[in-house]
Amino acid sequence: MNTDWKNFEPVLIPNIKDLYKIDVYEKNGGYEQLKKVFKDKKHTPESLVNEVKAANIRGRGGAGFNAGLKWSFMPKPDGGPRYIAANGDESEPGTFKDRVIFERNPHLFIEGSILAGFAMDITAVYVYIRGEYRDQINMMQKAIDDAYAKGYLGKNILKSGFDLEMYVHSGAGAYICGEESSLMESLEGKRGYPRVKPPFPAQKGLWGRPTTINNIETLANVPLVVKNGADWYTSIGAKTHPGPVLYGISGHVNRPGVYEYPTGMLITDLINDVCKGVRGGKKVKAVIPGGSSTPPLRGDSLDGVRMDADSLRTAGSMMGTAGMIVMDEDTDIVDVIWRISHFYHHESCGQCTPCRDGTGFLEKTLIKIKDGEGEMRDLDILLDLCTQMEGRTICALADAAAWPVRYAVERFREDFEKRVKKTVYAVA
């Protein structure tokens, strides 16, 4: 494990002024990999897929699936259109990393998309950005226009005979459209309802054609792999979950923000060294490691927990999007969980019963507890409802809504018990 994180040079968002401008990007080695692949024939599509597969870029959107493996699921080209949907919906509370790529280094993502497009013989890339990112959408559009002007996009890219179109699509403010299949529905102009799988997007995606959905950050990692090779990439960070990652740290820390470091960082290092400790020198009460849907960890159980998929699974949480929320000892967990629950109640698309009605039931029960009207049995009802929701729906939103509640009640039970009425029922 690479523990020398203090000397880590950022590669996704390097410290270069005005990198978002295409000239600056090119001056700093940008689009070099594209030329190497297209002009010097560094890679064939197959070898590129294999290289990415070997690099083990685990999807940065939350599920952590090997990106190269996902690419290899695409069927053989049959002459029809094939798509990439780049997921920049990023609407999970606590997550704000893609935004930095849109602002600081959009061309890295564009280059990665073109390489991915080459590897899978893609016709068009749709960049789905959440509607609230109005400025970022404009910046992304500008970057794409620049790339078109330079001939990196469009017909016959760098005279290689390969065509690729890229479009920006703005979401309309629905969390559910960050789920890959409802993102596709939304792109098609339909209501953002997740699709039933199978068929998987690689077989039947956008408009019934093979489609790969990757996170923005995942695609931005591709040029780095092509440049330095899979071995270099796997040497960074945790063994099973390698690479640089953008940590979006928010909450009660002194210096919140997005930091690029290798995976496998100690959570305590991130809080105490990177973010310069908790506000007011207080103790950490809880950490949500990867966006609001991942189970919260207790502040006193953080020793030795690293930010990679395996370590976090052992600790009882998930890597998610690496959007970490830190809460100090004054935080009221009941309020936090109610707010998270309110978010999921509001954002449930309403397709499947357990999520549509379960999120409402959860929130209403939490409001009852928050208002001091709750009883002990309500805690059991909460846990029961989570069981009724987990794994029972088409997409993972029901799990996302249930996990914070379940693990908060299990790990911070004393906070909940403090808030409920001490009613004792007489047993006859």
């Binding site: 449930s348 499947c352 549509r356 009605d357 029960t365 009852k368 794994g391």
Partner: protein, 580 residues
């Protein structure tokens, strides 16, 4: 043949059925809401959970892997699966609520969620009694409710369109109605709006749900969210008798069920027939129930010195017999009708054949361009093919007008066909003739007739019709006339009250019974006057005779029609050409 084990019982299957449909086909009860066999599968209600597992294949030996007991090693899916979207594979093992506590719990959990925001107004809900949610809650639901909070409130009594009313609070968002307008009627008029537990179906602003098939959404709605503007609050389901019938407003002949209370038809719903109408029928056919109840001719009418008077049956028979015996064969114009049943048309043909009149004609009612290629055909009459197959002369309205306007006919006899109402002829064309009309409803033609014989309509006597595609289908009597009685007529359906009522319930009603007899029976009675009768006792005798004397109809019988949902007849080249 591939096999599947459901609750430890082995079944064989063909093709790639979905597990839920396969279970339903095997007669196994399983709860579901959003699934509909004719629509796409959204798997959104999550009610049809099963535990599913597949045997582990040993890749080297290409055989199932066995454990130490010689049993197949089954790898279960980690989550409960929705059986509606789960494709059956060879060797699959399914556990339902009968064998799995987890599935039982799953069904209960989902019902708890569905009922959470459901208003539970069953006592005033039209759907009660035929409500899948009600039935499945009793079978699989939780005992009580843990939900002690405020329910979500949504709009009620929204008039979506001229025929459909929405109660959004009752809606469980199964999206069947939305999928119906997307996939079957293809008008795309409905969609789900809003998000989460606040969502409900709606039409786009400024439009209304005027789909010609809109009432089908009421049928497939698994709760009382969509109700028929016409039928709502009229009757409880269990007060009515449900009888299979045929829609006769159109040449397509959709299979229907008529729902009768106190000898009044209260509504008409489609009946499943994969070869004709699947699960659907057009709205216009459902409004036909008014014709069955209202404005009926009861007792024969006789015109005397220009005034209509009610006559007795024996008087009508005598008048009819006298009229036909006083005229020469060439002075007759005998009209069958594509609106009347095969039984009536055939008896008419036979009656006049024995009196030397061979030529019987009928007037078509084909409105070019009114069909939509789905369940509404250009042909507005249900039995055009039947008349053709009997060998009647086919007359277009124009040729018929020309034929009749000369005034050369002294006696015109017509089976039920509103010739004046649809402006084929006018009263001046009938002035010189004695016009006998067999009809069940008062209309312009019956007004103009000199003798009106009230005949039973398609829901009062078994009637056979041959639709535009040559499908021979029949109706079953659903309501009583003065001369029939549901206690004696074994064909009439048995309702809930018939089965469970006591004699003090007084459910058998004398009300709304019409004094009419089937057309063939009247002709039989007239023939009896000179002992030339045919010996028909029931309409089944007639169909039996048709099937054995006319090769066009071989294989037709009531039994066959009932068992196979109609008998497919060959539409001859000649009739096809005429249709084209």
């Amino acid at each position: 043949m591939p096999e599947i084990f459901i609750d430890n019982i082995r079944y064989e299957f063909e093709g790639k059925p979905k597990v839920l449909q396969f279970m339903l086909d095997q007669g196994l009860d399983h709860p579901f809401f959003c699934y509909h066999p004719s629509l796409s599968i959204p798997a959104n209600c999550r009610q049809c959970y099963v535990e599913a597992g597949t045997p582990v294949m040993n890749r080297e030996t290409n055989d199932w892997e066995l454990d130490e007991n010689g049993e197949r090693v089954i790898r279960y899916f980690p989550k409960l699966m929705t059986s509606c979207s789960l494709e059956a594979t060879d060797g699959m093992v399914i556990k339902t609520h009968r064998t799995s506590e987890l599935v039982k719990r799953g069904h209960k959990d989902v019902l708890e969620f569905i009922l959470m925001n459901h208003p539970l107004d069953c006592p005033i809900c039209d759907q009660a009694g035929e409500c899948p949610l009600q039935i499945q809650t009793y079978k699989y639901g939780p005992e009580g409710s843990r939900f002690e909070h405020k329910k979500v409130h949504k709009p009620k009594r929204i008039k979506l369109g001229p025929r459909v009313i929405l109660d959004a609070e009752r809606c469980i968002n199964c999206t069947r109605c939305v999928r119906f307008t997307d996939e079957i009627s293809k008008t795309h008029q409905l969609t789900i709006i809003s998000r989460g537990d606040k969502n409900y179906p709606a039409v786009a602003p400024g439009t209304e749900f005027d789909d010609p098939y809109s009432l089908n959404t009421v049928d497939i709605c698994p709760v009382g969210a969509l109700t028929s503007a016409d039928f709502r609050f009229k009757a409880r389901v269990w007060e009515m008798n449900q009888t299979p019938s045929i829609d006769i407003t159109n040449g397509k002949g959709c299979n229907t069920d008529v729902w009768v209370r106190n000898n009044l038809v209260l509504r008409i719903t489609p009946r499943y027939n994969p070869d004709v109408n699947d699960h659907w029928m057009p709205d216009i056919g459902r409004e036909d129930y008014r014709r069955m109840n209202e404005n009926r001719i009861s007792r024969p009418d006789l015109k005397l010195d220009g005034n209509k008077i009610k006559s007795s049956w024996s008087n009508a028979e005598m008048t009819f017999a006298e009229t036909i015996s006083n005229a020469k064969p060439e002075e007759f114009l005998v009209l069958g009708s594509a609106f009347s049943s095969l039984e009536d048309n055939f008896t008419l043909q036979k009656f006049f054949k024995s009196r030397g009149i061979e030529n019987i004609s009928f007037v078509t009612n084909i409105q070019k361009g009114s069909g939509d290629g789905f369940l509404m055909d250009d042909d507005q009459y249900p039995n055009t093919n039947g008349c053709r197959m009997l060998g009647f002369e086919e007359l277009s309205p124009a040729t018929f007008k020309k034929k009749v306007s000369g005034g050369k006919y002294k006696v015109i006899i017509s089976l039920e066909d509103d010739l004046l109402g649809r402006e084929v002829i006018d009263t001046t064309d009938l002035n010189s003739a004695f016009f006998v009309y067999f009809g069940s409803n008062n209309n312009k033609t019956s007004e103009a007739a000199d003798l009106v014989i009230p005949i039973s309509n398609s829901v009062e006597t078994p009637s056979t019709y041959i639709n535009v595609d040559g499908r021979c289908q029949r109706t079953v009597p659903a309501k009583e006339t003065i001369y029939t009685n549901r206690k004696l007529n074994l064909e009439m359906s048995v309702g809930r009250l018939d089965r469970y009522g006591t004699k003090f319930d007084n459910w058998v009603s004398d009300r709304n019974r019409v004094d009419c007899i089937p057309g063939w029976e009247f002709l039989e009675r007239v023939a009896l006057l000179d002992n030339s009768n045919f010996g028909y006792e029931t309409s089944e005798d007639i169909i039996h005779e048709i099937a054995h004397t006319n090769s066009n109809f071989s294989g037709v019988s009531y039994e066959a029609m009932d068992e196979q949902l109609g008998v497919q007849l060959k539409v001859t080249k000649e009739t096809k050409e005429k249709t084209a």
